[in-house]
Amino acid sequence: MITYALFFGFACFALGLLLNLYRLAKGPSVADRVLALDTMVINGIALLVLYGVAQGTAVYFEAALLFAMVGFITTVAFCRFILRGDIIE
């Protein structure tokens, strides 16, 4: 039963990644693209965690934690650059 649920989860988050990619390519403003990147990072974290469950190992959680931190810092840096034209003043 877990196998099928995992397949369903993988399919959902992969489809979500494709939708985010569509928004990243199309999205009229810069903020849309930043938001799409942020959501892609979140979906990637979900995929990593699901893969960890599927493999039955705890190795992938460190990767997911690093991914979360780098994604947050990236988003803040992008927005900071849009707002101020500079990242560290």
Binding site: M1, I2, Y4, S29, A31, N43, A46, V49, V53
Partner: protein
Amino acid sequence: MDWLVELLLSAVIVFGGIFGLVGSYGLAKLPDLMSRLHGPTKATTLGVGSVLIASIIFMLWDQSTLTVHELLITIFLFLTAPITANFIAKSFLHRHGQSELKLPETGSECGWASFDKPPSADDDEPSSLTIPRRHGK
């Protein structure tokens, strides 16, 4: 007992998958950025949170070890999602604000953030930086 845990795990994973998909679909579908912000910041965060909780339950059940990493990731994501949403909304207002959007009144002394200076203690009259104040008093 095993059957029950499997059912719980599957339900939580399916729940998370549906919410993640709904959030991403909202990001692709909704008409403008201010409404698009709602999908990823609420639905997708909930989806990821439930996937991480499923992972905690799985590790507790399968290998009988309580891992705290997932809890850390969950807390981190739930803390940072509102901050990123606020930052993105502010940068959107900064680039497309006042002239293109019809912003509603703020209902307070001060105008919208990133247009008006926030009121401070030693400042009698909050001065607007770029635009005239729009609320009539």
